[in-house]
Each structure stands twice: as structure tokens, then as C-alpha cells.
């Protein structure tokens, strides 16, 4: 795990450092002279060999670092230093921690919504397999799955906000300052995310439950005289839960890295918007920092999913 995290910093750092393009050239605008570019290059530490740059980046993660220490205005970046955005004149970590709550709120709300809707609809379809209820649920799932999220998002804004005026225009507020405003803002983005993912979870849940239905222990459960509801939820769903948990863990981690389209549509200042802007502005330290953060989420999600296997399946626990 530690080794993986280390390799992650190496890959991410070199990926973006070795990219074509000269960050120093981007630090000054039209009034640039070669002398200013060179001065900035030195200030950013970009004139060091690549390995030295990496070493400074890596040690900065733990000890913090100071940019251009020999200049009259050194820039201090506190540990854990993910870098410093010279475009925005702020530490990357500060930018990320400011955007993260928005993304977490978006991802968690959508996650809960899609799990509840997706799994219950999937069970419902499995119970009515082959009948019209099953077909209609799966039909809706297919439509939801194939609709692009920007289309759903724009339609929702157009009808719910602009045409029918049911909700005010989405405007990010902290849930601690204005809970009602927070819910009013987040409900549509949550729906957009949930529609996309719930469709997938409906199909996954339905197929898992139906697959387990053929197993001998389901027949045993029926032979015990358990109600069909218990057979499906306690026995069939429980046995088919592992792939659902795996998918849910990784999907949530991916979303924590920012839902770029959804955040852009609803102008939510989350990690996704931040990532888009950093790319547009070629803000290398920020891109590196965001990528590293996102990748770390995925890595931790993998670890948690692995640990959950042990909780879910007693056979894994012993092994």
C-alpha cells in the first residue's frame, strides 16, 4: 500500500513534468522577455534536473517546502505540500480542500440515492423476472444508462428550475450555513448522478440475484419455509453482494475525484470544476495535485473493498 502510494507520486509527477510545454513560459503574459522567463524558471525550481525536482516535490509532501528561497519574497508551502499554483497564487492543498467538501457532498448524496434506487429496483425486477414489471424496469434502466448526463442535467435545469420554477437556480452553499438551500441546490445534481449509476446497479443487482437463484442453498432456504422476500434479500442478495460492493467502492472513489460534467452544469465549485479549470489554464502543479488526490482515493477505495471482502465472505477471512 505504502509502496503503491510512492509509485503513484512518481508516475503522476513524471507524467506531468515530462509533458511537452514550458510552464515557465506560461508564468508571464504578453510582456515576456527571455530574462523574465529564465528568472521565473529559477523561482519555480524548474531549472533543476528532473530527479532533483522530484526529490523536492516528494520531500515537500512530508516536510513542506519553500519556493524561491533566495528571492525577497519566498513562497512557503506547508506540509503536506502538494505544490503551489503560481496562476492562482495559492497552495494546491488549500484549493483542493476548499473544493473537496462540494465534491464529497455531491458524490455521497448521489451514491446513497443510486444504491437505494438501483438495488431495490434490481431486486424488484428479479422477483418479477420475465414479466412486464421486469421488462419495464430494465427498459427504464437502459434509457437511463444510455442518456448522457449533460442532457439529463440540462433538461432538469430547464424544466424544474427555469420553466416550472420549482427550485431556485443551483448555487453552492454549505449545508452547515443553509441546510435548505443546500438541499435545493444538490437535489438535481444528485438525481443526475443517480440516474446514470442506478441504471447500472439495477442490472447488476438483478443479474446477481437471478444467478444466485439457481444455487442449492436457495432451494434449502425455500425448503425451510422462509417467505420469498427473505429468500431473496437475506439469502440471494447477500450471496450476490460481493460484485455490487466492489463496483460501489470504485464508483464512489471515482466520483470523489470530481464529477466533471455534473459539476460544470450546476456550476458547483468541486474538484471536477477545479480540474477542468486547471487544465484550461495549464496550471501544472494544480493538475498534478488533483491527479494525485484522485488516484489516492481510488487506491484507498481498493483497500477498503478488499477489507470488506473479508467482512462479507467468511471464506476469505480464513484464507
Amino acid at each position: 500500500m505504502v509502496l503503491l502510494l510512492f509509485l503513484l507520486t512518481v508516475v503522476v509527477f513524471f507524467l506531468f513534468t515530462l509533458l511537452p510545454g514550458d510552464p515557465a513560459r506560461l508564468t508571464c503574459g504578453k510582456s515576456c522577455t527571455p530574462a523574465v522567463v529564465e528568472a521565473n524558471r529559477h523561482r519555480l525550481g524548474l531549472d533543476d534536473p528532473v530527479l532533483v525536482q522530484y526529490w523536492k516535490f516528494f520531500t515537500g509532501l512530508f516536510a513542506g517546502r519553500v519556493f524561491s528561497p533566495d528571492s525577497p519574497q519566498p513562497i512557503v508551502c506547508n506540509a503536506p505540500c502538494l505544490g503551489y499554483s503560481f496562476n492562482r497564487h495559492e497552495q494546491v492543498l488549500t484549493l483542493i480542500t476548499r473544493a473537496l467538501p462540494v465534491t464529497i457532498a455531491l458524490a455521497l448524496g448521489g451514491f446513497i440515492l443510486w444504491l437505494v434506487v438501483g438495488i431495490s429496483a434490481g431486486i424488484y425486477a428479479a422477483l418479477r423476472r420475465g414479466r412486464w414489471q421486469d421488462r419495464s424496469v430494465m427498459g427504464v434502466a437502459l434509457v437511463g444508462y444510455s442518456m448522457p448526463s449533460f442532457f439529463i442535467g440540462l433538461m432538469l435545469i430547464f424544466f424544474v428550475v427555469l420553466k416550472w420554477n420549482w427550485l431556485p437556480f443551483p448555487q453552492w452553499v454549505s449545508p452547515f450555513e443553509d441546510p435548505v438551500g443546500f438541499l435545493q441546490t444538490m437535489i438535481l445534481p444528485w438525481i443526475v448522478i443517480a440516474v446514470l449509476y442506478a441504471a447500472f446497479y439495477m442490472r447488476l443487482t438483478r443479474n446477481q440475484v437471478l444467478e444466485v437463484f439457481g444455487d442449492d442453498f436457495i432451494r434449502t432456504a425455500r425448503a425451510k419455509g422462509l417467505p420469498e422476500r427473505t429468500v431473496v434479500t437475506k439469502h440471494a442478495l447477500r450471496a450476490g453482494l460481493t460484485p455490487i460492493v466492489t463496483a460501489a467502492g470504485l464508483d464512489l472513489a471515482g466520483l470523489l475525484g470530481g464529477a466533471i460534467i455534473t459539476e460544470s452544469i450546476f456550476s458547483l465549485p468541486g474538484l471536477g470544476s477545479l480540474a477542468v479549470n486547471s487544465v484550461v489554464q495549464a496550471d501544472l502543479p494544480l493538475i498534478t495535485g488533483i491527479t494525485l488526490t484522485t488516484a489516492t482515493f481510488v487506491l484507498f477505495a481498493n483497500l477498503i473493498v478488499d477489507l470488506l471482502y473479508g467482512v462479507l465472505d467468511p471464506r476469505v477471512r480464513v484464507a
Binding site: G130, D216, F217, R219, T220, A223, K224, R238, P314, R315
Partner: protein, 352 residues
């Protein structure tokens, strides 16, 4: 389902003209066709036949485990004065696990891999009775002791994968008997087990049957184990009964060539046989495409004993040949008994 027909039949379990037909893409599969059976209270009936003979489907129909959406089930099943096939699903569900219980062929896959065995048995209790968890657990431990699980107090918290096949089948038996059902159906309970364990499991079933006064249907393809456990034997072939009678009669004077074939297929260690095992040639018939006439006719060695092509043209009836003994065969009774006599003599090792 009138009251008179219930009263007319005093048997504890009586199956009348049971037919189960599955609709499949290839056509209608008549897995069970016109099976009529009865068992007295406390007796053991063995249903014997090869794979695909319809014995397991018969059992599942009695348990109400046949999916009515996928299959049509016709006939009547009377258990202790109650007709089961006409019961609403909720009532049948109440009977399952409390009045009729079942154990299955493969104990490795018949227990849920993710739940502790104690909890799985306790679930059978709470499905039918209002018992507090602590009391249920006590009851489960008692039952585990009864089915011969060593260190039951500790084992009750084990997961199925921590137990051997024989132990798991003991757990299944305990789960089936926990509500003291009137009727136990054992669907090839020993097939998946080691030979040494097979004998133990059979002995356990026999013991507990005596203790609980349970009526048992034992489904098996192995005539070798039937003699020890069953009072009555019903031989099935191609979804039909071909011979029914008391166990002693079936062993001493079988009349249907298929039963003879099954008896000849039992390996014997105690006698030096004059010839090697005598398997029945060919394969069981496809249930979609049953041969016309007698279903066993394509594999029968004695077709020539019946004049003309009667065996391949006409379906024989299951007819009584002696009290309690019925046979489905066109060969005349006297000749059948002679054939059986000769075959059994060879099996017994004194060739004439």
C-alpha cells in the same frame, strides 16, 4: 378435492396421478407422468431410479418446490388429510420446514456459505415458531448434539466451509428435523459423501426417524442402501412408476426387467460372482422424446418374450401382480417370475 376422497384414503401421504410437465424451448418435458403412491405413518418409502427418472421432481412436487410458472403440476397430494397441490402458496410455505422437511443431495452447496450453521438452523425455527434467540440457540445446540456433531457448543458458530461433507449433511438433517416435521424427504442424502460416511448418515436418519416418528421418503439410485432403510420401494423409470412393492418382495421376487437390471448392478463383496457386474445397456430415455410403447423397451433384454411389437407400440399399465405389489410390464406374470428367479439365482452365485 372432496372430503370423501380424503376419507377414502387412510394413508398418511398419498400421491394420486401426479404429473409434472416443464415447458422448455425444446418442447414439453413430462418429468413425472401419472405417479400414484402412498405411505403409512412412520414408514419409509424408497423411490429408486436413474438420473432423470423423475424421482427428484416427484419429491419437489410434494414439497411444493416446483416453480408453477415454469411447470404444470397435476394430480393430488394428500398429507395427513390435507390436499397440498391446491393450497395457496402462503399455506404451503407454512407447511414447508414445519410439517414436511427435506434434505438434499449435495451438502457442500446446500448451506449458505456466508452464514453460521447455528444461525441457519435457528432461521428454520424462527420461520415457524415464536422462540427467543437464546432459546433457539439452545435448541440448535441440542439438535447438533443429536445429529452427532462433536463439540456442538463451539461448532454452532462455525461457517459451512469449516465442516466436512458428512458434518454438513448432519447439519442439514438437524435443520430439517428442528421443527419435528411429520414427513422427511431425503433426496439422495448420501450420494455426494464418502462410502464410510454414507453408512453413518443412513444410520442417523434411521435412528432419528424412530425417535421423532417421522415418515420418510428416501430417494436414491442405489438399490444397495434401500434394503437397510425402506419398508416400501417404488421404482421409477422415464417419469413413471414401473414397479411398487414392499422391500422384501422387491428384493425376493422382482418382476419388472428394469428392477432386475438395477439389482444386477449392485456390486457384491460377500459372494464370488460367476460373472462380472451386469449393467443395463444404453441410456435413460430423453424425457422430451419418450419412446412409444413401454419406455423401457429399447433397453429391455426380454422384449422377445412379448408376442409381436406390443412393447414398442402400446404403453403398459401399472397392474397389481400380488397384494401390495404392482408391475408395469407386458410379459406374462408366470414368465416374469421365472426370469427373475433365474437372474436372482445367478446373482446368488448358484448357477443352475
Amino acid at each position: 378435492m372432496s372430503q370423501e376422497s380424503a376419507a377414502a384414503d387412510q394413508s398418511f401421504l398419498s400421491v394420486k396421478d401426479l404429473s409434472v410437465a416443464f415447458r422448455t424451448e425444446d418442447g414439453i418435458v413430462r418429468a413425472v407422468d401419472g405417479v400414484t403412491l402412498s405411505i403409512e405413518r412412520g414408514q419409509t418409502l424408497a423411490i429408486v431410479g436413474e438420473s432423470g427418472s423423475g424421482k427428484s421432481v416427484t419429491a419437489q412436487a410434494i414439497m411444493g418446490l416446483v416453480d408453477r410458472k415454469a411447470a404444470t403440476v397435476d394430480g393430488e397430494i394428500w398429507l395427513d388429510g390435507e390436499e397440498l397441490l391446491g393450497l395457496p402458496p402462503a399455506d404451503m410455505q407454512r407447511l414447508r420446514g414445519s410439517q414436511i422437511a427435506m434434505i438434499f443431495q449435495d451438502p457442500m452447496s446446500s448451506l449458505h456459505p456466508f452464514y453460521r450453521i447455528g444461525d441457519q438452523i435457528a432461521e428454520a425455527i424462527s420461520a415457524h415458531r415464536d422462540v427467543k434467540p437464546a432459546a433457539a440457540r439452545k435448541e440448535v445446540v441440542e439438535m447438533l448434539k443429536k445429529v452427532g456433531i462433536p463439540a456442538a457448543e463451539r461448532r454452532v458458530d462455525d461457517y459451512p466451509h469449516q465442516l466436512s461433507g458428512g458434518m454438513r449433511q448432519r447439519v442439514m438433517i438437524g435443520m430439517a428435523l428442528i421443527n419435528s416435521p411429520k414427513m422427511l424427504i431425503a433426496d439422495e442424502p448420501t450420494t455426494a459423501l464418502d462410502v464410510t460416511v454414507q453408512a453413518q448418515i443412513l444410520e442417523l436418519i434411521t435412528e432419528l426417524k424412530a425417535e421423532f416418528g417421522t415418515t420418510v421418503i428416501m430417494i436414491t439410485h442405489d438399490l444397495g442402501i434401500v434394503a437397510d432403510v425402506a419398508d416400501e420401494v417404488a421404482v421409477m423409470y422415464g417419469g413413471r412408476l414401473v414397479e411398487v412393492g414392499p422391500t422384501t418382495t422387491i428384493y425376493a421376487s422382482p418382476e419388472m426387467p428394469y428392477t432386475l437390471g438395477l439389482l444386477s448392478s449392485i456390486p457384491r463383496m460377500d459372494k464370488e460372482l460367476p460373472k462380472r457386474l451386469d449393467p443395463i445397456p444404453g441410456n435413460p430415455p430423453s424425457p422430451i422424446n419418450l419412446p412409444p410403447g413401454c419406455v423401457f423397451q429399447p433397453r429391455c433384454a426380454y422384449v422377445s418374450r412379448v408376442p409381436g411389437d406390443r412393447c414398442s407400440e402400446e404403453r403398459p399399465e401399472l397392474l397389481p401382480t400380488a397384494p401390495n405389489h404392482a408391475v408395469r410390464c407386458f410379459i406374462p406374470g408366470e414368465e416374469r417370475r421365472q426370469i427373475a428367479h433365474d437372474v436372482l439365482a445367478v446373482l446368488a452365485g448358484d448357477p443352475q
